[in-house]
Each structure stands twice: as structure tokens, then as C-alpha cells.
């Protein structure tokens, strides 16, 4: 019933509108408006309208900035972030000036030159000097912005400092894991073929390849044994054989992994530490994030530090920064005791893309070491 009434109202509305338009057309015609020319009254209201609109637009911009100022990110909490913030502010000033001046010119011209008393407009086709000027001026400004921009980018992307702490950020649908490199500051090797229930990052340490091979052996043996229980050569048996062959193929990959890397020292992974939900970093020391992904493209976005880098399956990407403000300091600066630095996903990665985050705590070196010592080492955890 409701649907029917809605449709009825809509149809009647359209019919009413049609009649309104026909009436207004006739009345306009009687007033000398053929529906094509723009009347003087219309011209006047339109030109005033445009000027008011543009001024209102400026006011809207200003109001938004004032009203929502607190929503903007706090000043950068990293070394390179400060350069980025300065560049952003300078660029914003430049573009706002351009924006305001061009809109004022637009408002002025449409107001002043609205169908004037003159029978004709001014027949000016071009002006070489003026055009040269307004091509050269933006070129100069943009050249400056280009040089400035490239320098700032290079500063952020420069080779990582020797003394950086290496931390891996491992992304998957739909969480992050932070892996610390331990005392040797070397992250252990990993391979996606090693991933299983207890080794969700596929880390390879001293024992894990052999463990994995044994695990496969056990599984294959179990499956072979279960063949006795089904009707021989029946459909179910075929399925089990298929499973066995698949497991053997996968075991083969792990075997190959072992072959290909006979000279690797996998013990570097033994002191790695895995954490979820929250990770800590010391203030004023460079941290080098090595970012990997398990399944699809994700992105490690840490906006308070002006840091972002995609996590791409099949490759390792990197981003480093040096945090300068501890969590406690930022909390008091913002007057918000609940504040936390955040890592969150910033590249569409599936259903729960919007809820893939990790807390970041920046603290003093001493507090950081204390926290780190309390985290279980991966190797011992695996055992």
C-alpha cells in the first residue's frame, strides 16, 4: 500500500510540475520573455547571485577550517615529518592565494561585464606579452615547488641509517603483526610455503624447515593409512590420493627451499619477536619498517609520523622514520589521555579493510627495552 501511494504521489507530482511549467511558459511569453533571451531582471539577479556565491564559498571554506581545526592531525611526530609539514603549509598558502585571487577576478568580471550598455564586447584576441607573463610566472613558481618537493621526498626516502632498528610489519587479511629482529637486529628469513597454523608469518629458523618436512610426513602417512578404511578404488579413495599428491607436491616445495638455501644461516630468526595488537618503538631512534603482505595489497599508514607504504605480496617494501614525540608527551600536548598513535591499513584489501589497525607506543629507550624484554621470543614460543 505504501509503495503504491509513493508511486501515486510521484506521478501526480510530475503531472503538477508539467502544468506549472506550461503555465510559466505562457506567462513569460506574455511578459516578452521568449524563453531564449536572458532578461535584464534575470541578468541582475544572476550576477549578484554569482558574487554572493563566491563570497559564500570563501566563508564556507573559512568556517570549515575553523570548525574542524581540531580534527586535523597534530604536528608531525617524526624528523622527516616536520619537513613535510612545512612543505604542506607552504603549498597550501600558495594554492590558497591562487584560489582566492582567481575567484575574485572571476566574480569581478562576471559582475562588471554582464550584458552592459555597449552594443558589443571588446574584440581582443590575444596579447603576447601578457600571455608570456602568465606562462612564465606559474613556471617559475612550479619550478620552485618542484625542486622543494623533490628535495623533501629524497629526504624521506634516503637510504636507511646504519643504526636503524629493523621491524617487519606483516599485513594480512585482516590484521598486522610486528616482528622485531632481536639482539642481532637482523630479521629472519621467511617464505610463504612455510605458513601454517603456528607459523603464520612463514618464518624460517634453525629448525622450522625440518619441522615442516616432518609435519608433512606425518600428514602424508596419516592419509595413506586412512586409505585402508575406505572402499578400495572407490570415489573416496581417489579423493584421498589427490590429497596425498597435493601434500607431496607442497612438501616438495619445502624440500626445494631447503636445497636452494643450504648456506643460509637461519638462526638469525631464532631471536625474532612477534607482537600483535600493539607495538612499541623508542623515541629519537630511526626505525626501519620492512613491510610484507601475505595475500593482497595492504598499506601501512602511520599518519602521525607522516609515513605510508604499500604492503605488496611477493616483494618487501621499506619505510623508515625517527619518532620525536613519545605517546605520553603527545597525550599531554593534546590534552587527551586516551590518545594513541596508530598503524592502519590504507589500501582496499577486502571486507574488513576498515578495521585493520595496531596501536603504536613511542616511549623512552629504557621503557622500550623493558617492554621488549617482556615479549616472548618467537623461537621459544614455537617450541
Amino acid at each position: 500500500m505504501t509503495t503504491f501511494l509513493i508511486y501515486l504521489v510521484l506521478i501526480l507530482g510530475i503531472v503538477a510540475l508539467v502544468q506549472l511549467v506550461r503555465v510559466s511558459e505562457i506567462s513569460n511569453f506574455l511578459n516578452g520573455d521568449d524563453g531564449i533571451i536572458v532578461t535584464d531582471k534575470e541578468t541582475n539577479s544572476l550576477r549578484y547571485g554569482l558574487v554572493i556565491f563566491i563570497l559564500g564559498y570563501f566563508a564556507f571554506y573559512a568556517w570549515l577550517v575553523v570548525r574542524f581545526w581540531d580534527l586535523l592531525l597534530p604536528p608531525a611526530a617524526s624528523v622527516h615529518g616536520e619537513s613535510i609539514d612545512l612543505m604542506l603549509n607552504i603549498n597550501m598558502v600558495v594554492i590558497t592565494i591562487v584560489f582566492v585571487i582567481t575567484h575574485l577576478i572571476l566574480a569581478y568580471f562576471v559582475f562588471k561585464y554582464a550584458k552592459t550598455k555597449n552594443k558589443k564586447a571588446e574584440f581582443s584576441t590575444h596579447n603576447d606579452k601578457l600571455e608570456l607573463l602568465w606562462t612564465a610566472a606559474p613556471t617559475v613558481v612550479l619550478a620552485a615547488l618542484i625542486i622543494y618537493g623533490i628535495n623533501t621526498w629524497n629526504e624521506a626516502m634516503r637510504s636507511t641509517p646504519e643504526d636503524s632498528i629493523n621491524i617487519e610489519l606483516y599485513a594480512r587479511q585482516f590484521d598486522w603483526t610486528a616482528r622485531y629482529a632481536g639482539e642481532d637486529n637482523i630479521l629472519g628469513k621467511a617464505n610463504f610455503r612455510m605458513i601454517n597454523g603456528t607459523n603464520s608469518l612463514g618464518i624460517i629458523n634453525s629448525n622450522s624447515i625440518d619441522n615442516r618436512l616432518s609435519a608433512y610426513d606425518v600428514k602424508i602417512a596419516d592419509l595413506e593409512a586412512s586409505r585402508q578404511d575406505v572402499f578400495p578404488n572407490g570415489v573416496n579413495d581417489e579423493e584421498i590420493v589427490k590429497k596425498i599428491n597435493l601434500k607431496k607436491k607442497h612438501r616438495g616445495y619445502v624440500e626445494q627451499l631447503k636445497e636452494n638455501s643450504k648456506n643460509e644461516d637461519y638462526s638469525v630468526a631464532d631471536d625474532d619477536i612477534l607482537v600483535k595488537v600493539e607495538f612499541h618503538i623508542p623515541v629519537n631512534k630511526p626505525v626501519n619498517f620492512q613491510i610484507r603482505s601475505q595475500d593482497v595489497i595492504h598499506s601501512a599508514y602511520m599518519p602521525h609520523f607522516r609515513a605510508q607504504m604499500n604492503a605488496v605480496p611477493g616483494m618487501m617494501t621499506q619505510f623508515y622514520f625517527t619518532p620525536t614525540v613519545t605517546t605520553a608527551e603527545m597525550r599531554s600536548k593534546l590534552g587527551n589521555p586516551e590518545f594513541n598513535y596508530l598503524l592502519y591499513c590504507n589500501k582496499i584489501c577486502g571486507t574488513a579493510h576498515y578495521n585493520m589497525q595496531m596501536n603504536i607506543v613511542v616511549e623512552s629507550e629504557a621503557d622500550y627495552q623493558k617492554w621488549l624484554s617482556e615479549q616472548p621470543k618467537y623461537y621459544t614460543a614455537e617450541k
Binding site: E25, F60, I95, P138, V296, S299, Q308, G350, H353
Partner: protein, 583 residues
């Protein structure tokens, strides 16, 4: 030209006549646009009040996709994906280029029709087919494609990674393949027609800027769409034939995939090699149409005609060497960040030149505020607003914090969703008399204009702030983040403007349809314009001119020429003694 009664099917459906085809493009593009716009209103409800129940969501999407009136997260992503796809391709590429290239090219260059009427007709029907397939993809069980309009693999390659990457994604790829064919057929036709079929006296430097723009757009399309096709083809191979162009070292849905050696970055490069010229394929016709409309309605020559051609050429060329600015955070070699920052900031120069030329055209003009002119002025304003934020995003270092946030959403919506759409509206209001032989209603047009322009900025300007606050795009909800507590307030402002702005488009639709049948009959040259299309009869004839083709003696911008009595001198008027016809 014969006057026998033409059967309905060849007159209205499978017509070879470019004028009919242009109307087909407009109507199909408009229909798709309303669907795309409807989708945006649906997901904006979720964004303004995350997790809240809305009756209308359940009414439209049903219990599966909006259980209890709350939008399902996968359907949210699908709506976002299909909204983007429809708006970028179906509205702004086919709807804008398809309509105006088909309408204006033969008419403004003085040709009987396009070089190949058959290819032209096929171009429309491939577009129609593509639209049908895209709509069909909305009804598949696992949902339509949902990886964003950019559909990056591995997400879009693996159905187990996201439900929408199943049949929905397959249909998306089929639809886009048909669409690419349509674009290529159209583009080839436009290029050949402009080069070969110009009438006597129509030198390249006497072409209206709309034709120059459509010409360069077609070249951009022909060079870049095949690369998208390649990207899509490799994606089809990865999805269906077990290849690994984009895949390597993946463990998903509980198993390690036997695909190694590929790289998702390959897709990025292939996609964005089209993706960037694509936005100029959208923008250039908008700029060309605006030049015509501003010049005609200011009764003044377009200022700096040759510079305008030069900037179109510069923008066209530069658009091919900036694609990496979509990839600053992709993990590609940081050196490329330097390269693309450099080239991208260069594009600002010809864009600025164009804006200054528009402003100078208005200077000392005699402006007629027709509805088309209002939209053209809005185009200039939104082009400035959107263009300047492009300068921020062009900088790789600034992109670090702004990439994939609402700042990017604001930027591209203001340049495409506002600027290009304003130009399209301006074009429709201006050339409606040529397309349907009637005038659109002026009062309804002004109402449509003011509400649209106001709501336009109301929707997109606040999103800059959300972006600067670190709010990511494509997020179903942000209520899981205490840091985004204030975002809901902005979202609600945005949604309110979006709903009003969306609803007023129905007034435009009403105006369009009403005027097609009952609008006042158009005079021969309602806007007193110089270009050739207004010399053809108001009632369409095949072959455009009843007798001989017109002969052109001058450039198209002799408005308010002091040597002539009238304030306009059509291109067919012979030169006076000692008069110069080109400037």
C-alpha cells in the same frame, strides 16, 4: 536527400546518423549516471551514520545486502566500486565524449556525417552492451566487483580474497572489454573524420576549440585504452588460466597458491598508463566545450586561441608521462617519485594558461547569463578549486600522508565530478536545441544550476579536511577509531548536501524529457553562434546540409568584430575587402 518514411528501427535504434547516435549516447550515459549517483547516495547514508539502520537501504538492496537496514560491508565496497566505474567510464567518457564528439564533429567541421557511420553505430551498441553487462553484474549471488574501480590484483584476481572478486569481477571485465571496443571504434572514427572530412576553407587553425579538444581526446584514447585492455586481459588470464602475471608468494584462504614470479606492480603501471590519460580524456572535451560556450555567451573571441590549442597539446602530451603519481606509495623505486613529481607539476602550467584565458575572455565581454553560461562559469570555478589541490597531491612527499585519503577523493571529485560534469551540463543546455530542435526550460535550468553548484561544493569541499585528518577512503566505517570521532559531523554535512544535490538532478531529468517533447521550438541560431552546426536545418536531415556543403572563410570567434554590424559573424560569411579571417 530522400524524404521517404524511415522505419523506426533504422531511424531510432540502429541509426548511422551521428546526430541520432549522439542522443543515444547522451540518454544511455544519463541513465547510467543516475544509477551511479543513486549508489553514492546509498553508501553515503552508511558513511554519515555508521552502523545505523535505514529503511531505504533495505527497500532497495533487500535483506541479503542490507539486513535490518544496515549496509553489508561487501555491498558497500561493491557500491563504491561500481559507482566509480560508472561515473568515470560510462558517464564522463562515453556520456561526455560520445555525445559531443558525435554531435559536433561532423557539424562543426562541415561534413555530411562521420567517416564511417557503421563503426559509429557499433560504437554506440558496444557501449550499450557494456552498460547492460555492468548492470547485470549487480545481481550475481556473491555480489558485484568490489575491489574499488581500480580493481588491483591480487584482491581482484582471487575470488577467495573477496566475494565480489568472483563472477561479479568477471562480468566487470567483460563489460570493460566491450566498453574499450566502443571507445576505440569511436576514437578512430573521430580522428579520421577530423583529418579527412573538413569542408573547404576549414583549416586546422579555423577549427573551434571543441573540435581540437575532441580530436586530441580521441588520440589520447586510441593510445591509452589498449593498455587498459592489456591489463584486463592479463587479469583475465590470472583469474581463469592459472597464470601469474600479477601474483607471487600468496597465502590466502588457508592455502599457499602455486603462483609465483608475478608482480602486482605490473598491473599498477598498465592500469595507470591508461588511468591518467583517462582523466584527461574526461577533462579535455569539458575544456573544449567550455571554450565554445564562454566565447559565444561573452560575445567575445576566446582569448588566446593559439595558446589554447597549444595548452591542449601540452596537456595531452604531458598526460602520458605522469601516471606514476598514482603510484607514489606503491613500493616502486623511490627515484620514480622524483620523476613523476617533476612531470606532474609541469601539467599545472598549461592548465593555468587555460584558466587565465577563460578569465580574459570574460574581461570586457558582454556576458549573457544563459543556463549554459552559468554552468560554464561553474566549470571554471571548480576547475580552479580542484586543480590547485592537484598541486599538493603531485608532490610525492605530500602524497605520503594524503595518498588514499579523502583529500584525494575531494580532489578528483572536484575536477571530474564537478568540473567535467558542469561542462557536460553546459553542453547539454547549449546544444539541446541542435539535438532536439527545441529549447530547454530556462527557469528550471537556473534552479537546477544554483542547487547543483551549491550542493556540489557542499559535498566535496569538506572532504579535504577529512583527508588532512588522515581518514582513509573506501572505509565502510570509521567508528572503530577514536581519532575519527569528529568525522561523523563532517560526514553528515556531506551526506545532506549529497542528498539534496542528487534529488535536484531529477529536475534536470524532467526538464530534459519535457523539453524533448513540449519545449518551445528552437530558432535557427538561438545563441547567435558562429560555428557551422547552427547553419543546418533545425529539423534533422541526413547529410546535415540540404544543398552544398558550407564554405568557411574565417575562424570561429568573430564575436563583436568591429568591422561588422552584428555582434557575431558565422564562419560561412565571406571576408570583407581587406579583412583578415584568422587570428
Amino acid at each position: 536527400m530522400s524524404s521517404h518514411k524511415e522505419p523506426f528501427i533504422t531511424k531510432y535504434l540502429f541509426s548511422y546518423d551521428h546526430k541520432m547516435i549522439s542522443r543515444q549516447f547522451l540518454l544511455t550515459g544519463t541513465a547510467m549516471a543516475f544509477i551511479g549517483m543513486g549508489m553514492s547516495l546509498l553508501f553515503r547514508l552508511q558513511l554519515s551514520s555508521p552502523g545505523e539502520s535505514f529503511w531505504i537501504l533495505n527497500f532497495i538492496l533487500g535483506d541479503k545486502w542490507a539486513p535490518g537496514g544496515v549496509l553489508d560491508p561487501n555491498m558497500y565496497m561493491s557500491l563504491v566500486t561500481i559507482h566509480g566505474t560508472i561515473m568515470v567510464f560510462f558517464l564522463l567518457t562515453a556520456g561526455l565524449s560520445g555525445t559531443f564528439a558525435n554531435l559536433l564533429i561532423p557539424l562543426q567541421i562541415g561534413a555530411r556525417d562521420m567517416a564511417s557511420g557503421m563503426l559509429n553505430m557499433l560504437s554506440y551498441w558496444f557501449f550499450f552492451g557494456s552498460s547492460v553487462v555492468m548492470i547485470c553484474s549487480l545481481f550475481v549471488e556473491a555480489g558485484p566487483a568490489s575491489g574499488g574501480w581500480t580493481v588491483y590484483p591480487p584482491l581482484s584476481a582471487l575470488p577467495q580474497a573477496m566475494p565480489g572478486s568472483g563472477l561479479g569481477m568477471t562480468l566487470w571485465l567483460v563489460s570493460m572489454s566491450l566498453f574499450i571496443v566502443s571507445s576505440l571504434l569511436g576514437g578512430l572514427n573521430y580522428i579520421v573524420t577530423i583529418i579527412n572530412l573538413r569542408t573547404k576553407g576549414m583549416k586546422m587553425t579555423r577549427l573551434p576549440l571543441s573540435i581540437w579538444a575532441l580530436f586530441l581526446t580521441a588520440i589520447l584514447g586510441v593510445l591509452s585504452f589498449p593498455v587498459l585492455f592489456a591489463a584486463a586481459l592479463l587479469l583475465i588470464f590470472d583469474r581463469t588460466f592459472g597464470t601469474s602475471f600479477y601474483l607471487s608468494d600468496i597465502f590466502v584462504a588457508g592455502e599457499a597458491l602455486d603462483r609465483t614470479g608475478g608482480s602486482p606492480l605490473l598491473y599498477h603501471h598498465l592500469f595507470w598508463f591508461l588511468g591518467h590519460p583517462e582523466v584527461y580524456i574526461i577533462l579535455l572535451p569539458a575544456l573544449g566545450l567550455t571554450s565554445e560556450i564562454i566565447s559565444c555567451n561573452a560575445r567575445k573571441p576566446i582569448f588566446g586561441y593559439r595558446a589554447m590549442i597549444g595548452s591542449l597539446l601540452a596537456i595531452g602530451f604531458l598526460s602520458f608521462i605522469v601516471w606514476g603519481h598514482h603510484m607514489y606509495m606503491s613500493g616502486m623505486n623511490p627515484f620514480l617519485g622524483d620523476v613523476f613529481t617533476f612531470t606532474t607539476l609541469l601539467i599545472a602550467i598549461p592548465s593555468a594558461v587555460k584558466v587565465f584565458n577563460y578569465l580574459s575572455t570574460l574581461w570586457k565581454g558582454r556576458i549573457h547569463f544563459t543556463v549554459a553560461m552559468m554552468f560554464a562559469i561553474a566549470m571554471v570555478s571548480t576547475f580552479i578549486s580542484g586543480g590547485v589541490t592537484g598541486i599538493i597531491l603531485a608532490d610525492a612527499a605530500l602524497d605520503i600522508n594524503l595518498h588514499d585519503t579523502y583529500f584525494v577523493v575531494a580532489h578528483f571529485h572536484i575536477v571530474m565530478g564537478l568540473s567535467a560534469v558542469m561542462a557536460m551540463f553546459a553542453g547539454v543546455y547549449h546544444w539541446f536545441p541542435k539535438m532536439w530542435g527545441r529549447m530547454m526550460n530556462k527557469k528550471l535550468g537556473y534552479i537546477h544550476f544554483w542547487v547543483t553548484f551549491t550542493c556540489a561544493y557542499g559535498v566535496f569541499f569538506p572532504q579535504h579536511i577529512q583527508g588532512l585528518a588522515g581518514l582513509p577512503r573506501r572505509y565502510y566505517s570509521y567508528s572503530e577509531f577514536p581519532m575519527f570521532e569528529g568525522v561523523a559531523d563532517i560526514s553528515q554535512i556531506v551526506t545532506a548536501f549529497a542528498i539534496v544535490g542528487g534529488l535536484i538532478q531529477f529536475l534536470f531529468l524532467f526538464n530534459l524529457i519535457y523539453s524533448m517533447f513540449r519545449g518551445p521550438k528552437a530558432p535557427q541560431n538561438p545563441w547567435k553562434s558562429n560555428t557551422l552546426e547552427w547553419t543546418t536545418p533545425v529539423e534533422h536531415v541526413h547529410g546535415n546540409w540540404r544543398g552544398e556543403l558550407p564554405v568557411v572563410h574565417r575562424w570561429p570567434y568573430d564575436y563583436s568584430n568591429p568591422d561588422h554590424e552584428e555582434d557575431y559573424v558565422p564562419q560561412t560569411v565571406p571576408l570583407l575587402e581587406g579583412e583578415v579571417g584568422d587570428h
